[in-house]
């Protein structure tokens, strides 16, 4: 546990909101790269695998870069 704590302390000052945004941008870059090279659109599992995080994390990370939907705005496309 001491080893785990020492490893963790290296990340001390970075806020999770920042790291979530980073994960989200990486995910979008990977999707862009795989789609433009002619392959089928990648799945969340493929992206998560490439970044090395749980697939649920990718989804919460993508949420963190989404503009909050205003309750006072029409939302449809």
């Amino acid at each position: 546990i001491g080893e785990i704590r020492r490893y963790l302390r290296d990340n001390n000052s970075i806020r999770v909101s920042r790291s979530m945004k980073d994960t989200a941008y990486k995910a979008l870059q990977i999707r862009e790269r795989l789609t433009s090279s002619g392959s089928q659109e990648p799945t969340i599992a493929e992206i998560a695998n490439e970044i090395g995080v749980d697939k649920e994390e990718i989804i919460f990370a993508l949420e963190s870069i989404q503009e909050p939907i205003s309750l006072f705005e029409p939302i449809y496309n």
Partner: protein
Amino acid sequence: MQNNYVIFKIPSLSTNESFARAAVAAFCANLNPTIDEIIEIKTAVSEAVTNAIIHGYENTVGEIQIECKIKGQLVEIIVEDYGSGIVNVEMAREPLYTTKPELERSGMGFAVMETYMDEVVVLSEKDIGTKVIMRKTISERKK
């Protein structure tokens, strides 16, 4: 792929809308969706949750229950509130129909849910609450 479910309850605070839609989408991650399918699920859930917050619990804060059931590639999402209820569901579901024009509501929430989900069922009773059931099949993808 096993049957699975999650039921979660949160207070109807607008700050929880983002968490609720992301949590449902994250639970669906096991079905191996694309980012587009994730966005579709989040948008539909958002509409239902927003409705519970601003219409169901209009001037108050109450509990919203969201249930997500997975059977194979089928996901069923139920968003439930115990608030004001809808008097005339058929009319409420009509595109552009809104009881809050002063909030610049578009009246398109149900239309959006119907666009992004394969099936939408709305059960409601005045002063008892509203239950929105949405289903979507996520296509299988090669691993």
